[in-house]
Amino acid sequence: MNDTILEKLNVLANAAKYDVSCSSSGSSRSNNGKNVGNTVSCGICHSFTEDGRCISLLKVLLSNHCIYDCAYCVNRSSNDIARAAFTVDELAELTINFYRRNYIEGLFLSSGVMRNPDYTMERLMNVAKKLREVYKFNAYIHLKAIPGASPDLVKQAGLYADRMSVNIEIPTEQNLKILAPDKDFASVYQPMALIKENIIISKEERKKYRKSPVFSPAGQSTQLIIGASPESDRQILQLTSGLYDFQKLKRVYYSGYVPVTLADNRLPALKQPPLIRENRLYQADWLLRFYEFKVDEIVNDEFQHLDLELDPKLSYALRNPHIFPIDINKADYEMILRIPGVGVRSAKLIVHSRKFGRLNESHLKKMGIVLKRAKYFITCNQLTDGHKDILPSIIRRNILNEKNKLLKRFNENQLSLFGDLLI
């Protein structure tokens, strides 16, 4: 057993874990009989850690040496921690052997900034290049773009990666500059725009010539740290919406700030990471991407922070009683999606099934709709429809009481091993 590899893996996986992106989806590339592995467009999670997050890729830093001193980062240059670096071959062997045993879908590779952005980006790109060309690795590779790296290097890197990402981290530039004086938004948005352009160009070329090179086929993503700086949910979600609409990002990830710095008064002294707020942001993100909501329906000038007690869709429904009750049998798909307790799958089931006849509450229950919630917001035009005209504040109280009853029963039955619950 090579102890050095074990130590390096410990250091460099620990260093990478706060980059929460976990996806292996969006790319479909088959094995041609002369290479190793394939990718499937749905992505596959291979394991789950005790924090409930999924492991689908081998997520490591090439090196956790870094010239920068960003206050929120565990790898900042002033932090006294063990530092290590993989050689290209060490990392390639590890990746391929894990892959052959079906432990992972592929590699997620980032790095601290060694010497300068270009030097680091070139090192990262060389790992991906060697994996593809020498080791014939055909599975998933997620490669970070280093802020400030030259366009040529970013362009080359995209030819070997399935997905690329460059992290914004702090949602506003003024707060970024307080926590990381060496950084700015331009160094992040330049590579992001470049990646976006190259993805579009590659797709257009491939429509004409099938053999045109593929560039980052699973798109790009980014990350925002939640709770290290004072931005409101409205600022965060407006930024998110812009990133989806204009930068055409596939995903925005939210990472609840885990205090990695003691006694730095630029950062809040949180006792624990803001997990509930992070969860609500993900739920809001889902509303933007799958439920056809606009940003200002979820948060706006009057309503700048997400309700922590209720999910954003329910919160929206209680603030907009005039659009309810929604007629299950007649309303458009977009309106059905707005009913609390109805998810995308259920909405599709409703729209398909009602072609064959009227739906009533017993049909809905069998389809898996949460009637305890939905009942306040729907009508099936039955005689028993008695839930309408109840005040939003009463509905809120009823739903929270139900939730608390369930929580109490759950807690009484479980050992105290279980940590924070996200409901």
Binding site: K17, Y18, G33, H46, I55, R101, N102, F418
Partner: protein, 256 residues
Amino acid sequence: MNVFIFDNTFEGLLTVVFESFKLKILPDAIVCKNKYQPSLLDVSFEITTDVLKAERVWNGIKAKTSKEACDMVYHTFLSGMDNIGMIIFHYLQLTFSTNYNVSVNYREESVLQIRQIQQKVLKEAHRMFMFVRFQKTSTDIYFAPIQPKYDVIPLIGKHFKNRFRDQIWIIYDTERDYGLYYDLKTVEEIKLEQHSINKSSGKIDATLLEEKEECYQILWKNYFDAINIKERKNLKVQMQFMPKRFWNYLPEKNNG
């Protein structure tokens, strides 16, 4: 009670359907041969599987509904749930007695039920893609034990063949005692007469393993612990996505 007895294969079940329609006798129960206990109150019909008759029923379902609906029935059968024969029979009765494609009418309880069982079976198959862990032997065979809740072996060969095209692998259901063997050309069903698999830990005899195998398992275990953020502990969600019944065959969880 009309009891139809068959050999517990899918073709056998389809033959039961064929015979039942031909005899114009509706079954009250469909039982497999080795579970049948004769009773004086039963009128029993022992059905011999006939591939041609089964094919006629299969084509009939396809013509009435769709290929997807045919697959839905097959996947439901693989669940091996209690009384699955009758559940499928009722669904097929409905299929043949309606004059439109009933397989997407989820207002019908029978259709919704079949679909929900299918979703469970497909989810279990996907879990095999997630949780299969190969052990490499000194003869360069990658071996993985599994213990799926439903009989998903017929559904997983293609994925693993497409992915691991250049390595010999075996995936073995330790409960149902059969599995798949890929020899770099084709995937075949196999049954191992003797094997040194420890059923509770899924491990094969250590002397058969490649010398670096244990190293990679240790590296994986370490990675699994290192990538965890302790401040975000959430065992409830972990167990939701990765139920305990899978843990004994996962090197990162089985403490072995």
